[in-house]
């Protein structure tokens, strides 16, 4: 089976700082992989290389088998879901308009857009009748984040990129969104590449966890693998502290 996302020997510098070096990782179809590490470890950079918000200096990145450089970045982004911290909703649009963003860009007819938006809002627990006409300002942080998830899923992308999606939420809202994330995952079977700085969240949501430090991948594996056989002292420490 073709992997959803593939990094192969990727190198990236920002200015004269090397942010990623020799980075190789695979997200299999339907799998959730969490990128985790201290700030500055290169995890967000890795995510942005996938939808070409950044371009690599070396190596290759493939989405569903196709080299991202061979594809028009606009078309690439429209077939990838993208969730960012605090939702990144457009403040001048209501919830429905926000969710319909990508379908509108893709030129779906209005009726189809509307049905899709209602279906997704229902799924993320924000019934359209009540929430569709609201502006982002009128929502709580957790609700905004749900709209962000619905927006990312609107055009039914097989692969979803999430950048600290639940990072800005209070522990209760975060917990319930994490629970629901697993439920959506089970129903939709998307491949997800998730950036987080919270090890508990990574263990809870991801099938495999990729630990980054200083632009290098230290280890990738399941929770058991990281706990039982950490690749080096950094991973051992990181896992021990993250759990504590």
């Amino acid at each position: 089976m073709i992997p959803a996302v593939q990094f192969e020997g990727v190198r990236k510098s920002l200015g004269d700082r090397v942010v990623l070096d020799g980075f190789t990782l695979e997200v299999r179809s339907g799998e959730t992989v969490a990128l985790i590490g201290p700030s500055g470890s290169g995890k967000t950079t890795a995510l942005k290389l996938v939808n070409r918000l950044l371009e690599p200096d070396g190596g290759a990145i493939r989405v569903e088998g196709r080299d991202v450089r061979a594809e028009d970045p606009i078309a690439l982004r429209r077939r990838l879901g993208y969730v960012i911290q605090e939702g990144g909703l457009f403040p001048h649009w209501n919830v429905r308009e926000n969710v319909e963003t990508v379908p509108r860009l893709l030129g779906w007819p209005e009726e189809r857009r509307r049905r899709r938006a209602e279906e997704l809002l229902e799924m993320v627990g924000l019934p359209a009748a009540e929430f569709a006409p609201r502006r982002p300002r009128e929502l709580s942080g957790g609700q905004r984040q749900r709209v962000g998830v619905a927006r990312a899923l609107a055009a039914d992308p097989p692969t979803v990129l999430m950048d600290e999606p639940f990072g800005a939420l209070d522990p209760i809202a975060r917990g319930s969104l994490q629970r629901e994330f697993l439920e959506w995952k089970r129903r939709l079977g998307k491949a997800v590449l998730l950036v987080t700085h919270d090890l508990r969240e990574a263990f809870r949501l991801a099938d495999r966890i990729a630990v980054l430090e200083g632009g290098r991948l230290r280890q990738v594996g399941t929770r058991e693998e990281l706990e039982r056989s950490p690749a080096d002292a950094f991973v051992r420490e990181f896992v021990a502290q993250g759990i504590a």
Binding site: L53, I74, A75, R78, I84, G88, L89, P91, L105, R137
Partner: protein, 214 residues
């Protein structure tokens, strides 16, 4: 001064005609300033290194005394001469800076996270500008248009000096004949016009920024 309203009423025909000319001068020059200032302001927002010197230059132009600018323009071919055209060009120069500066400020102050979301979801630069950046910058842009229009109404009284008409005609005539009532017949309607335009554009500004209020 007791008979001032009666004096205005007697001259309502002339005051009305000149106020119409006045408003036309301001409307045309402000519209042209928007047509030039908006795209240039957007272009500058994309090029921070060019933006600084251009905005600084525009500020310098702003400091040229208006009467002197009219004088400079008169001998120029095409844009100069005596009449409304010269006045419109001069007013355009003054209206340009607030529109340019506010468009630049409006676009550059859009939350970078929002811009990145728009890009990451697959909007082209054009789509992003049209459906995200410009709408979010609009209240600030409109504030610039409002400043430009109000400043132009005051400045346009000087247009009478180059034979462009407007309420300045009454003021100049009043000065020449040492007739305060005549000066006021030009000045008071000009001030009222400024208040009116300020109010109307202020209303538009609030209307367009309705999304800010939850």
């Amino acid at each position: 001064m007791s008979g001032l309203p009666g004096y205005f009423w007697e001259r309502r025909g002339e005051i009305g005609a000149l106020a119409g000319q006045h408003l036309a001068l301001v409307a045309i020059s402000t519209a042209l300033a928007v047509a030039v200032g908006l795209p240039v302001g957007v272009a500058l927002a994309r090029r921070p290194r060019v933006a600084r010197p251009v905005l600084a230059f525009a500020s310098v132009v702003q400091t040229i005394p208006s009467l002197a600018l009219f004088g400079f323009l008169i001998p120029l071919p095409l844009i100069g001469g005596i009449g409304a055209r010269t006045a419109i060009v001069a007013l355009l120069f003054y209206a340009l800076l607030p529109i340019l500066r506010n468009t630049h400020a409006g676009i550059t102050s859009v939350d970078p996270a929002i811009v990145e979301a728009a890009t990451g979801l697959g909007m082209t630069q054009r789509e992003r500008l049209r459906s995200v950046e410009l709408p979010l910058a609009l209240p600030v842009v409109l504030a610039g248009v409002r400043i430009a229009a109000v400043v132009s109404i005051g400045l346009a009284t000087i247009a009478a000096a180059v034979g462009a008409g407007g309420l300045g005609v009454l003021i100049y005539r009043g000065i020449a004949t040492v007739d305060n009532r005549l000066i006021l017949a030009g000045a008071v309607p000009a001030a009222l016009l400024a208040l009116l335009v300020d109010g109307a554009l202020g209303l538009a500004e609030r209307r367009w920024s309705a999304w800010r209020r939850a």
